[in-house]
């Protein structure tokens, strides 16, 4: 086995890739969807689709909070922007119960930006479920899940580097793709998706580890700071604590002039308003705008902000928000922001989505290649239990997962709005569908299994836009969906998914399986013996 560097790297590549490949597939699929997390959450809350921002929006939000929580401890208003047409209201009640357990529990509401009406969207975890699944799974103790995800990421990093080392003719074969040759074609696809997108794959994997660096490698922080990571964060993001007590009651000024002033000062739309001790004499209002994003910006804060005295409206402080960041931090920020596609405008966001699909294809072709290679070696004999297991798991983690995803979205439209624990039921549908797919795949781990599951997902994804027409009025044939881009985009992606599934189905059906023993036929390929 150790007859040379390339061989040992090939061995390492195959096993590090295969053992955790199924988990990595799930991570890629959910991670790719997470690039559009907000859009997915919006699609899954049709009650919010008619909200349209207007110049009165800040004043409406102000009035809503004054009515709902006039003597809260703090307010937070997130104004509408391209990815979210509603107003997010958050506040912290000034009651002893709200401080229980050391964790401050706030309350929140969603407001229509045009009418000021408080909305009640159907209970759903939306895109956040998929986003969280990507790095901490679901139903598993958080720390265990994160460690498992990080172990998988580390395996992938090793797979990438060993893959590059073992790929003998990486430059000569850069453009090579030989279609219709069975295992050879899978190898070429795997090489193409892997090598062409190598910068992306390396970035996404390495930055994934960096995001969890406090959990994975706290040793540097613990050595350099007395209170470990807390000391580190206090050093890097010094936080200002609000006043401990609210003062005497005193009404606040109108928000509209303050918003206008912030807008004029920074020449950017206002995004966020936060208040410490609203309607007291020591109220502090912070109005923050958007900013020209830089990919090396810190994740938290840094937006241009005006700080006002709440009672008089007097300007207390102007924070332009551009602070010099030392070199090493810029590297960290760059990598992490690339991973999260922060500051991506719609075009760049779609590009990242495509890269994510490419990454999924890379992992998938690798695992299909593994099966294809060993099937070919069998020369027409029936596959053994191990090969059937791998093939079954491949099916379950690819078409099974994609089917579960479609079912999750379908459940959002089909489950009654008033259903108790609705959020959990949507998620249960996701897992039950996946489990069903797993069972089916393990029972029929071959060409038939692929055909049946590909057919199922084609139907499921095609059904979603139709379901939309039947159950909402923000479907592809309505103006609302096209006004908010994201909504129409979602349905279009569903149709593209169905088309891809259909195409894959057609390709698999066309290829005839070869039975019996004997030498390999020249042009045909043996996918499996089923």
């Amino acid at each position: 086995m150790k007859a040379g560097l390339r061989q040992s790297m090939a061995w390492l590549h195959t096993w590090s890739g295969l053992l955790l490949g199924w988990l990595l597939l799930a991570m890629f699929v959910t991670g790719t969807s997470a690039y559009f997390r907000e859009e997915i959450s919006l699609w899954m809350a049709p009650e919010l689709h008619h909200s349209q921002p207007s110049p009165d929006t800040p004043a409406l939000a102000w009035a809503a909070l004054n009515a709902k929580a006039p003597d809260a401890k703090s307010w937070d208003i997130q104004l509408p922007e391209a990815r979210s047409p509603v107003v997010q209201l958050r506040w912290q009640p000034d009651t002893p119960q709200a401080e229980e357990g050391g964790r401050r529990r706030g309350e929140q509401a969603v407001m229509d930006a045009g009418t000021g009406e408080l909305l009640s969207p159907r209970a759903s975890r939306g895109g956040d479920f998929l986003y969280r699944f990507h790095f901490e799974l679901y139903g598993v103790p958080r720390i265990w899940a994160r460690w498992l995800i990080c172990v998988a990421t580390m395996f992938m990093l090793v797979a990438i580097v060993s893959g590059v080392i073992t790929h003998k003719k990486i430059f000569k074969d850069f453009f090579t793709f030989r279609p219709g040759k069975g295992q050879r074609s899978w190898l070429d696809s795997h090489n193409a998706t892997a090598v062409l997108a190598l910068p992306f794959h390396f970035m996404i994997t390495y930055s994934g580890l960096l995001i969890f660096m406090v959990m994975l490698m706290p040793w540097g922080m613990n050595a350099a700071y007395e209170d470990g990571w807390r000391g580190f964060f206090q050093d890097v993001f010094p936080r200002e604590e609000p006043a401990a007590e609210g003062g005497a009651a005193m009404p606040m000024v109108d928000i509209a002039p303050l918003v206008a002033r912030a807008r004029e000062t920074f020449d950017q739309p206002v995004r966020r308003i936060s208040v410490d001790w609203p309607n007291r004499d020591n109220a502090v209002i912070r109005v923050s705008t958007a900013k020209d994003p830089h990919i090396t910006d810190q994740r938290r804060g840094g937006n241009p902000t005006l700080v006002f005295n709440g009672g008089t409206g007097e300007l207390l402080e102007t924070r332009p928000g551009d602070e010099a960041v030392p070199g090493a931090f810029r590297v960290y920020n760059l990598l992490v922001n690339l991973h999260l596609a922060r500051f991506a405008d719609p075009t760049v966001r779609w590009l990242f989505f495509l890269f994510g699909v490419g990454g999924t294809a890379m992992v998938a072709t690798g695992m299909l290649l593994w099966v294809s290679k060993r099937t070919q070696q069998l020369r027409g004999k029936a596959p053994g239990a191990a090969l059937r297991l791998v093939n079954g798991l491949n099916i379950a983690s690819l078409t099974g997962l994609l089917g579960a995803l479609a079912a999750y979205f379908a459940a959002n439209r089909l489950l009654p709005v008033e259903l108790a624990a609705r959020e959990s039921w949507e998620i249960r549908v996701f897992f039950l569908t996946w489990l069903l797919a797993l069972g089916h795949a393990l029972l029929r781990p071959g060409r038939r299994g692929w055909i049946e599951q590909l057919a199922a997902i084609t139907v499921l994804w095609a059904a979603l836009p139709l379901l939309n027409v039947a159950t909402t009025d923000s479907h592809l044939f309505s103006a609302t969906a096209w006004r908010t881009g994201a909504l129409a985009g979602f349905d279009v992606v569903c149709l593209l998914m169905a088309a891809t599934g259909g195409y894959a189905l057609w390709r698999v059906v066309r290829k005839q399986p070869v039975r019996g023993r004997g030498p390999l036929p020249q042009r045909r390929t043996v996918e499996d013996g089923a």
């Binding site: 150790k2 090793v158 580097v161 060993s162 390495y206 960096l210 490698m217 540097g220 922080m221 960290y332």
Partner: protein, 102 residues
């Protein structure tokens, strides 16, 4: 266990792979952890910058250790190649930084 069968056991490829895997996974992590600590303490920069730089490099070090464990000629070399630098870095970390030399 007789000397002969012990020899055969350690020569078997499965044991070699297992040994290398342990060296890679746990030895590699230890090496990366020692390196992170030593770098965070010894890099000539503000503490926060030193910590971040150390962390940025840590996963590269881990990956190189894993590759070394499987690329090198024998499992024994794998262990030596990982543990020796780890010990040196651990010693540096124990010293606590450039102030210790003053």
């Amino acid at each position: 266990m007789s000397k002969h069968s012990l020899q055969r056991l350690t020569a078997s490829p499965a044991v070699g792979v297992a040994s290398r895997t342990l060296a890679a996974v746990f030895g590699g992590y230890a090496l990366a952890a020692c390196a992170t600590t030593a770098l965070a303490l010894w890099l000539p920069a503000a503490p926060a910058t030193a910590v971040i730089t150390a962390n940025l490099l840590s996963f590269l070090i881990y990956t190189v250790a894993v590759l070394w464990a499987f690329a090198t000629r024998s499992a024994a070399r794998a262990w030596v190649g990982i543990l020796m630098p780890a010990l040196v870095l651990a010693a540096l970390a124990w010293l606590g930084g450039p102030e210790a030399l003053l």
